[in-house]
Structures are given as structure tokens and as C-alpha cells.
Symmetry: C2
Subunit: 423 residues, 2 copies
């Protein structure tokens, strides 16, 4: 990944929390990027990141407390915004207005209005905004995209995704320090974090490129997990045990697409269970199911004829392992880059960052664009509306204002790191 | 299972199709039952069942074409009604009005009105109606019920179930003979067959006994699977390939319960995939997930502390196999009867029939009663309404008219074959 100096991207990072520490592990491995400015409201956070640069023997970037000061620097090509859920959208809009290539971390929106602002900032300036949705770069999700584009699943019919991740150990202990996500769980009731599996599904279903989310319904279970955790860990008599959390432990959302496909999403962060993104892609010829770790493709996977107790025949389909498809169907990105990826979440972080940096270097649209950001993040505030209205269906805005009809999806012979999702 | 003659149940069977052939394998193994009458509109079907009796060396039952004639026989204690989806409810109501213990096979309802008729027939005569929901007697579902009653999952929060079964090989070839289910798939768009996993879940959530289904929303994907199968197998030019099917390939329904729990149901019979009932029971202390074939219980299953690339700790929960819980938590029914069960679906058919016969012999309410039948089967017509209304939420009637509030659930020390679900 050695690059000539003139192609090195000068990057600013706004928001210097835990997520930035993890991203730095990957960024330090990408030679095409130089981190020339950092910014956080907290001097302590700035100092911590500076110390990481110092330890690694790298030059210390210019440091700012006000992101507008960082955005005014003309020598910065692009900014990374791993700030909190409530702040990254307005900062991203400001960054695009300052003419920067912009990358935001994942999360959900508070309103469709802030998403329209993001879209207008991009359309008004021509600047690009990419969401660093690392799960779009997971090996299995990339392979399923590759297989879907080659038609192995037939016509796509139904997908599932979820963020099922027990975060009680993080949400409750960090509540005292004002951890924003805990307060989202306290005050809101919706799918707070839809993009980890909705992103890959949206790419597979060509959302905003010949397809779009039309409407959704959402339903929340009662809320018990976080309150119980507080009681378990602080005693029933303490003041903390009185905290009520609005967010249902399991929020289920069903999305209808213009192409007739349905998507079921699950959000659950407050119950004990092994992690799952609950992935499923199903078509007229086959299915991938993450929890089974299996794929069944008609004509490839085995099906046997069996007989019931009174002798009538019936067909039984069998699973193949996901791993058995790697040799033949691993996505080109994974094949090309798997030996070079460094950092968090099994390399997904690194691939997402590389795709962004590469878009900046080649002055092209990033593989996840502002319309993707808006559509994916809208599920948070729209599921909130549906739940508040007793699971009424809610329409998803067309953030492309009709452009989705003629925007084309990826020809499979044109995939590379930069154009995995576009032509 | 040898029984004294005076306790032998005299049984009539109305509807002599393929399902009856399978049930006979189990019924012939239960000494407490004598099949003394059979009935079908078709003489051919009657003749086929007679030949099975002949081959087995058993006395040939009295045969009828009109079920009212069978119901008038005073020496019949109970009737089994494995007829088609459209006919078993009115016949069951007639059977109760004739004073018979009544058992229907699984299926969904066309309207809530026919379910009210069923409830009124039972309440007006004191006769009982049981649904032979064999999946309530599956080993894993019984064990999960046992574990849930013992509190291992904590407070229950969310359940999933489904009927995901590729029936294309059955639905399309049998269309020419007028197979009713194919026509349901042609004309209706809803969860046609909800009870296989909703039954066990409803028992686990104490539906109609301190809990009830409040409302539901349903969404259907586009319909492609059956039409494509017709084209694949009869050529695109044939007349058959013009048949349009209304039922979406995947129908997803979310049910809200009075206790605050949510249930997600999936119906899919027209796409190639391995069979699954998509089972999930999740509470504040643990989860069962059928597709993983796993259980995780806080304090029993292992959880480890791991570290991300920048050194921050996080908790990882691990699955135990379902099988590892059999020794300690197999349901008493399974322990007591597993060596005696004979017949279809791994013995589930036999256990359901034994439960019904046992209720008749002891003149007690069956473990699945008329309110269960009505609530479970209502999901079919209510999901149809929700889909027709663009996924609007639809209220589920309280078929108990308030009795659910004081009806008690099962004390775990009182379980036996007859009272698995009641006290």
C-alpha cells in the first residue's frame, strides 16, 4: 500500500472518542492517508489521541476544539466524523459545505429533516458523504453480494438483518459519564442502530439504484433488560434502579421495497445472547442464513427424496456451509485485499476506510453515498414514528427525488475497491 | 399402553385424505382408542382407508358420506376432523353441538366469524374442541416450555416462529386434482398456516391464561416462487404458466401481546430452502434459537471477556447446543412417553393424539382448547386484513371475552400428559 506523495489524502478527524482509537489502527496501515488535523471539544480526548500519535512515532496533527476551525483549513481534502449519533449529521453537512469529502460513522437519524439537510448539502456543493458502514465489507456479506449479482439466489424476495448485541456492560456502566447511547435507550423507542445489516442488504437489493424503501412498520416489545441490569448491579434500593428505559428490548421492523421485496430488521442490545447480525438473503433459487452459517442454492446444494410413515414422498433440502462457497465466490475485494487489512472488526473497518480514501484520491463518488446514508439512517426515526402510532405503516421519503429510477447498479465485471457498488 | 375395555374411546374420523393415513399409524398404536366410524364425501377415499384397516387385520369401521350421519351415532365419544382448511371449522362446530369431544387438524381461519361460531358451539354445549397441533409436542418445544416455566429464560420478551417449508413439489403437481391449499395460495395473501410455531409459543407465553394476543401487523413480499415453478416445469408457453398467485413468497407478521411480549411469524412455502420453524424464545436471562440449534442462559452458558484492537474489553456470549440441555430439562411428557410413541413427525402426532384421547377418557378439558384454536387460527384472516390495508395494525379479538385475565397457567408440579398446559 505504498503510495507516491502527491496522491496522499490529507485527512481531518472530528470526534476523538473510543471509535477513533480503533479507526487509527487501520488508518496507520493505509499509506495513502496522512492525518493532518484532529478535533474534539474535550482537551482530554485531544491529549489522548496525541499520545497515540506520539507513541507510534508519527507527526502530531494540528488540534482543534471547534470543528469549523478545522473545516476552514484549505489543505485538508477529507474529514472523518466519528462523533456521537446526535452530532455527526450537522457536522457532516457543514463539512460538505466547506467542500470536503466527508465520512460519517454509523448510527440512526433523529428526524428525516436532518437527513434532507445532509442530502441538500451534498447536492448543493457537489461534495460527497460516505457512511463508513464496515459491515458492507464483511467477508460473508461481500460474498453474498457477489453471489446475488451473479444470480445464484434467483430473483431476490426477502432479506433479514439485525443488530443483536448485548451492550448492557457498556450502556449501564457508562451512563454516569453521560454516554449518549444510553440516553437514546432511555428516551427513545425505535431501531436505534439499523445500518450494520441494512447496509449490506440495501446494496444487495440495489436500493437507490432501481429500487427503494417504500414504507415500514415497527413494533417494540416491553423494556426490561436495562432496568433489570441496573437492579442486578446496584441493588434494588438504590436510586439508579428507578431509571425507566423507553426502548423495548426487541424492536422488529419490516420494510417494503419498490421492487416488492421485504426486509425484516431486529434491534436488541439489552438482553443476554450471543452476537448476531441476523443476516438472511432469500430469492427464488436459494437462501443465505447467517445463524445457520448456511447457504442453500437450488441445483448446487443437495436435496433428497424421503418418505413419510405412510409412504408418501417429500423433498428435503440441505444446507451447505458458508465456508464451502469461499473458494469460488469470495468477493474480488476480499481476494485482493485480505492480506493487507489491519485493524478492527476483522478488517472490515480497514476496507471501509480504504474505499473512502480511494474515492477521495480518484475524485469519484464513494461506494456508499449521501442517498444511502439518508435512506438507511431514516429507519431510526421512521420506526420511532411507527411504534409511537401503534405500529402504523409509515412512508419512507425518496431522498433521491426520483433519481433512483435511472441510477444503475453495479455491473459485476467492473468491481474493484472503488466501484464495488457502482459503475 | 394396554387399557381395560370400559375406558376405550370410540372415535369417528371425518375426512379421509392423506393426513388421515398418517394419523392412523399413530392411532393404531394407542390401545385406548377404537375407530368405530369413518366418513368422507368420496367413496374412493373411504375405500382406501377401509383397505388400510383390512391390511392391518382390524375390524372395518362403519362408513358414512355425510358427517351429520356419523355425528348422530350415540356410541361415538369423540371425532377427529382432518378435513380441508375451509371445512374443518363448521364440521367441528356441528360435532360439538352433537355433544362430541372434537379434534381438528391445524390450519388458519377465513374469518373471525367462523372462529366465534366455534367458541359459541363449545360454550353453548360444554363440549371441547382441541387442535391437534403436533408441534406443541415436539421434543425441543416441550423442553423450552419446561425451561421457560422454571424461569431459565427470565421474564419472556420476544419469540419467533415460522412455517418455512418448500411445498412447491406438492402444491403445483396437485393443483389439477383441486388441492385446496394450492388455491389458498392462488387467491389469498396472508399467513396461511400460522399454528405450527405459534402454538408452542402461545403455550410458552400463557396466551388465554393471563396473556393474550392484542394486535398484529403483517407484510407480504412479492409472489414469484409458485409461478416460476410452474414455468420451470410446464414450459413458458403452456396455459398453466399464466396462473398468477396472490400469496407473497414470504409473509412476515408481528404480534403484540397484552404482557408486552412481541412475536414475529414467518410463512414461506414457495421458495427453495431447508425446512425451519424458525423458533426463538427470548427473555431477560436467556434465549433459544432453533436455526443455531443453540441455547444461551445467563449463568449457565459461558461468556468470555475479550479485547478489541485498541485494548478495550468487551463481553462475548457463547451458545450451548440444545442437546446439552436434554438430560436435565427434557419435558416430563417426553421422558415418560418417548419409548411408546409411534407414527408421523418424530412422534409428535402420536403425543397430540394421546393427549386428546386422554382428555376424552378422563372427561376433562384438552390441553389445547377452543380459545387456543380461535386465537391461533385468527392470525390467518387478520394478517390477510393487515396486508390488504397496506400493513395497518389490526386488533385480535378476545375470544375468551375477558376470561383470559383469571384463567391460570400450568403449575410445573402438575404436568402430565393430560395437564401439560393447564392445572
Amino acid at each position: 500500500m505504498k503510495e507516491s506523495k502527491d496522491k496522499i489524502v490529507k485527512l481531518g478527524i472530528i470526534g476523538l472518542g473510543w471509535r477513533t482509537e480503533v479507526l487509527l489502527v487501520s488508518l496507520f496501515a493505509i499509506d495513502a492517508v496522512e492525518i493532518s488535523a484532529i478535533c474534539d471539544l474535550s482537551d482530554k480526548a485531544v491529549a489522548k489521541i496525541k499520545s497515540i500519535f506520539l507513541k507510534s512515532g508519527r507527526p502530531i496533527p494540528a488540534a482543534f476544539n471547534n470543528y469549523n476551525d478545522l473545516l476552514q483549513k484549505n489543505d485538508i481534502d477529507a474529514v472523518l466524523i466519528p462523533t456521537s449519533w446526535n452530532s455527526h449529521l450537522p457536522i457532516a453537512a457543514a463539512a460538505m459545505k466547506a467542500g470536503k469529502y466527508t465520512a460519517i460513522e454509523v448510527g440512526g437519524a433523529s428526524s428525516t429533516e436532518e437527513l434532507w439537510q445532509l442530502v441538500h448539502a451534498s447536492e448543493g456543493t457537489g461534495a460527497h458523504c460516505m457512511m463508513l458502514e464496515n459491515c458492507c465489507y464483511a467477508r460473508n456479506e461481500l460474498m453474498i453480494l457477489n453471489m446475488a449479482r451473479q444470480g445464484l439466489f434467483g430473483e431476490l424476495i426477502h432479506c433479514c438483518g439485525g443488530y443483536e448485541h448485548d451492550l448492557r456492560d457498556e450502556l449501564i456502566p457508562r451512563m454516569k459519564e453521560g454516554f449518549e447511547r444510553t440516553f437514546h435507550n432511555k428516551y427513545r423507542n425505535c431501531d436505534l442502530y439499523p445500518t450494520h445489516q441494512l447496509g449490506p442488504i440495501a446494496k444487495i437489493l440495489n436500493i437507490n439504484r432501481g429500487n427503494r424503501f417504500l414504507s415500514l412498520v415497527s413494533m417494540a416489545s416491553k423494556s426490561r433488560g436495562l432496568g433489570l441490569y441496573v437492579k442486578d448491579h446496584s441493588g434494588r434500593e438504590s436510586q439508579e434502579s428507578e431509571i425507566a428505559f423507553n426502548k423495548g428490548d426487541v424492536v422488529t421492523t419490516i420494510i417494503k421495497c419498490a421492487g416488492g421485496e421485504t426486509i425484516t430488521l431486529t434491534h436488541s442490545v439489552s438482553l443476554p445472547r450471543p452476537y448476531s447480525r441476523n443476516g438472511r438473503v432469500q430469492g427464488t433459487r436459494g437462501i443465505w442464513l447467517e445463524d445457520v452459517d448456511g447457504i442453500h442454492i437450488e441445483g448446487i446444494s443437495s436435496s433428497t427424496k424421503e418418505f413419510d410413515v405412510s409412504g408418501n414422498p417429500y423433498t428435503v433440502h440441505h444446507w451447505d456451509t458458508v465456508q464451502s462457497f469461499y473458494d469460488k465466490y469470495d468477493h474480488p475485494i476480499w481476494r485482493d485485499y485480505k492480506d493487507n487489512i489491519v485493524g478492527g472488526h476483522g478488517g472490515m473497518d480497514c476496507l471501509a476506510l480504504m474505499a473512502f480514501i480511494d474515492a477521495v484520491r480518484h475524485k469519484i463518488a464513494p461506494p456508499i453515498d449521501v442517498y444511502d446514508c439518508a435512506a438507511w439512517m431514516s429507519v431510526t426515526c421512521l420506526s420511532e414514528q411507527s411504534i409511537a402510532l401503534g405500529s402504523m405503516p409509515v412512508a419512507v421519503p425518496d431522498f433521491t427525488n426520483g433519481k433512483w429510477i435511472k441510477r444503475e447498479s453495479v455491473p459485476i465485471n467492473k468491481w474493484s475497491l472503488t466501484n464495488v457498488y457502482k459503475d
